[in-house]
Subunit: 209 residues, 2 copies
Amino acid sequence: MDQALPELNNPPKTRRGARTVRKLLDAAQEEFGSKGFHEASVAGITSAAGTAQGTFYIYFASKEELFRTLVFDLGRRLRDFLTENVDETTDRLTAEAQGMEAFIRFVRLYPDLYRIVLEAQFVDPEAFRLYFQDFGAAYRARCEAAATRGEIRVQDADAESWALMGISLFLGLRYGIWEAERDPGPVVASVMDMIANGLKPRPGEGGTA
Amino acid sequence: MDQALPELNNPPKTRRGARTVRKLLDAAQEEFGSKGFHEASVAGITSAAGTAQGTFYIYFASKEELFRTLVFDLGRRLRDFLTENVDETTDRLTAEAQGMEAFIRFVRLYPDLYRIVLEAQFVDPEAFRLYFQDFGAAYRARCEAAATRGEIRVQDADAESWALMGISLFLGLRYGIWEAERDPGPVVASVMDMIANGLKPRPGEGGTA
């Protein structure tokens, strides 16, 4: 209820309207997340939100528009979550580890949201692409700044940032959804060791740790 | 036509039957890949394959079963493609680079198949999970063997293999689908440098390359 609303074509002008939109978005998150886009229905969403279908169409032109709004809403919430849980004033590799663990925790807290973003690839490929391009651009900028400060070395910051995003996304699937009971700490530590130090054996070390 | 058939509940007993099944699978790949699972129809698939709907149901109980068969068929084809394009007798880091580039090329050759596997997460989560668990187990075994040979160092081979798969999957999306015209060589080289040598600055090197 207290969360800011995403941008809408016809934003609510009253507090009551804002509450209604938030209820619709929360109900949509539950419905899309549990049933998937195709099985979800506007009738199911308005029923769960306790609003009339006519009210729904004041704010959203269609189920598709609601879905797209949710995808961008999730992007904002994930960014806020990471801002709260990652200390960007520390060095990049420490922040990277914090971000990786925070992302796994975010997926555990909001598995519905995670599924909705991934399903966007099929429901709304444009929204999906924009979502990851926005994230990727911010990520790349942080990597480039850290390289300038000498905290990390990068060749192609764009490709490397993209690879790091792929790691988090896939760790989120496995350790956020499939094995949500596991302590993510050792997993993150091991993957971060690979990212920070690379896979080449170091002098005086055996191949296995 | 010459490709082996995946395992079916009721496998064809004649060469003509095998050709029919192959035609149905190829038509399904095209239909699922271009329209997505929900918009695709058995009628559309049989029409494209030039077979009767009754013939379809001799081999497949439903659109869902056909979809699941295709997911496993793709896994086999990707494994065959990687076997052809990756020299597993070389060291692990060289093979890793070959595999990463081969995967991007595979996605470019068969974007439909790539989309089908990713959509399986929503259509048939069990098939999706099995698909990646099978790949992950084989991948982990190769990493562990390489660590024993001293070619790489690993901490948690399971988590690190998973991270490497996440990188390929995400690079496949961007450089296999979205930017399919780009030379993947420099991207793979840059990401492989990160994987092999890590992100920490090396003595005597600046932060940027």
